[in-house]
């Protein structure tokens, strides 16, 4: 520990796709300010929704968020926050969260899902908006026509192979693993609903940002440079991610930062129009009232910052 009084940001994080933060956690020496002019108290969470609650309760200053959880916090929890950076999104041609069925399944189209049991990683989570929209477009009422069960990504492949669900959604690295094993096929992916979906981003409480602009600036600067390092040095990134996820490098190597991975903005810059589009979908599917993304924009503090 340093004897100098340092300012501390309490940051929430989760796994598996926040490479710039993982760099900051595991390679702090690479960041000139981190641990010197300011400190981070890292807390890991199970999913983004609890982090929204933690932000609303004032127990965190910044945290990983999904557009939906953040909006829920705003609508239901009186949360005021700025989106300061973005972690991953769906790039055209890259990985898109998809629903898989078994090869020999009679389900060939989305319309065939009627009356089936369908797994989803988180009910009411970020993927459900586009998912609902696709169902509706194919004449299925998401509330009545299918039986939706929560199946975490980790067990989704097993649940499908065991026949516990007829279709289930897949994410990396589990999708890569399932594909390598074979026997499953992609039914549809979220990119069919909209391109460049933003999966996770970085948000900070507005009151905290307003009170400590320099501090947050330093943090966002480091996220920006972390993203740069992550993209520039894949070999090291594999190591870093492996340390955090405790996943073996060969598994990560099958997808991480490859074409079959999510997209990452080189400057970790939030794609506000895409986020707005998602908010619109949520409003359309009745999950949320209409929201304007502008409220999440800070005039100066937003990645990329040098």
């Amino acid at each position: 520990g340093s004897s100098r009084a340092q300012q501390t940001i309490r940051v929430g994080w989760t796994i598996p796709a926040e490479e710039s933060k993982y760099w900051m956690m595991r390679r702090p020496a690479e960041f000139p300010d981190l641990g010197k002019t300011y400190n981070i108290e890292w807390t890991q969470f199970q999913g983004t929704a609890p982090m929204t609650q933690a932000l609303a309760a004032g127990a965190l200053d910044c945290a990983t968020q999904a557009p939906l959880s953040l909006s829920n916090g705003v609508v239901g929890g009186n949360l005021k926050a700025y989106i300061v950076a973005q972690h991953v999104f769906e790039k055209p041609g890259g990985f898109s969260v998809y629903w898989a069925v078994m090869d020999d399944s009679p389900i060939k189209t989305i319309a065939d899902l009627k009356g089936k049991t369908v797994g989803i990683s988180v009910i009411g989570g970020g993927t459900q908006g586009p998912f609902n929209m696709l169902l509706k477009q194919n004449g299925i009422d998401p509330a009545k026509d299918i039986k939706l069960v929560e199946v975490g990504f980790a067990v989704s492949e097993d649940a499908l192979r065991q026949g516990r669900v007829d279709a289930v959604n897949m994410n990396q690295p589990f999708a890569a693993r399932a594909e390598a094993k074979g026997g499953t096929r992609k039914l549809f992916s979220l990119s069919q609903a909209m391109p460049n979906i933003v999966h996770i981003l970085e948000a900070c409480r507005a009151d905290f940002v307003d009170k400590n602009p320099e501090l947050v600036k330093a943090y966002v600067r480091d996220i920006t440079s972390g993203m740069k390092k992550a993209l520039a040095n894949r070999e090291e990134t594999l190591k870093v991610v492996s340390e955090v996820l405790k996943a073996p490098i060969p598994v990560l190597d099958t997808y991480l930062l490859k074409d079959n991975d999510f997209g990452r903005d080189p400057g970790a810059a939030p794609n506000f129009p895409a986020i707005q589009k998602m908010l619109d979908i949520y409003a359309e599917t009745g999950m949320l009232p209409k929201l304007d993304v502008a409220q999440f924009k800070h005039p100066t503090i937003v990645a990329p910052l040098q």
């Binding site: 929204t52 609650q53 309760a57 009186n78």
Partner: protein, 255 residues
């Protein structure tokens, strides 16, 4: 116990609960907690009353209760059975004791994903989790109670011609009853917690699921309704257990 004493007891018991609700109201009134996280009690209770009469909410309660009871009863049957046999037979004791030592401290929630895959997303996986968690407190209390039964009670029964295999049922079980019921009480509360937790983790219905759906969308009032419901259920179930206890133990000095 006279009925006057009984009603004083009830009043005394209501007092701290009233204080708790007052404290809750105070926290909200003095803005020590944001309404978004802690809605005022009046709102929660009036929503609860509204919900209680709706068919769909009743269905959720029934689903939760069904899992809770089935799991708890399995735990009681297994815990009491194994606990007694382990106290009676050195051979079984030698096997059960180490097994219990290994299995008891395992975090059963971590096995829940495996249970889901083996037993599906419906009742079975939750019942299994409830049973697994409630089992050990009941088993340990039964074992303790059974192994400290006054020797001379057993001797008296054996001398009266009770066959060995019946001693367990006729002497050890009733003599260990105070301890067994203590274990059951703890097991019951754990069952309440676990069934709720399991429904929060993965479910399509039940009170825990109601809470999670509300929590995801920051519906604070709807979050608290299932919480209050489970808490009331706990209170009612415990009162029932208490009544059973004072009947079953009416011959014991402490009853």
């Amino acid at each position: 116990m006279t009925s006057r004493a009984l009603s004083t007891d009830v009043l005394l018991g209501l007092l701290p609960i009233a204080l708790l609700i007052a404290l809750w109201q105070g926290l909200v009134s003095f803005e020590l907690a944001p309404v978004a996280l802690l809605p005022p009690p009046g709102l929660v209770f009036s929503r609860l009353l509204q919900q209680l009469v709706t068919f769909s909410f009743q269905q959720e309660i029934i689903a939760t209760l069904f899992r809770l009871f089935t799991g708890f009863l399995i735990a009681v049957a297994l815990g009491v059975g194994v606990g007694m046999v382990a106290a009676a037979s050195p051979a079984i004791n030698a096997t059960v004791r180490p097994l219990v030592r290994v299995l008891a401290p395992l975090p059963k929630v971590a096995l829940y994903p495996a249970l889901l895959l083996l037993l599906g997303f419906g009742h079975e996986s939750k019942i299994a989790l409830v049973a697994a968690d409630a089992l050990f407190p009941i088993l340990l209390s039964t074992y303790y109670g059974a192994s400290t039964v006054e020797q001379k009670l057993i001797w008296s029964a054996m001398a009266a011609g009770t066959p060995r295999r019946e001693i367990l049922l006729k002497v050890v079980l009733p003599a260990a009853m105070p301890s067994i019921l203590t274990g059951c009480r703890i097991g019951l509360v754990i069952s309440c917690i676990v069934v709720f937790l399991a429904e929060m983790i993965t479910s399509t219905d039940g009170l825990g699921h109601v809470l999670i759906t509300a929590a995801r969308t920051f519906q604070a009032v709807d979050m608290f309704v299932p919480l209050i419901t489970i808490s009331l259920l706990g209170l009612i179930l415990n009162a029932l257990l208490q009544a059973a206890r004072s009947y079953l133990l009416r011959g014991f000095p402490e009853a």
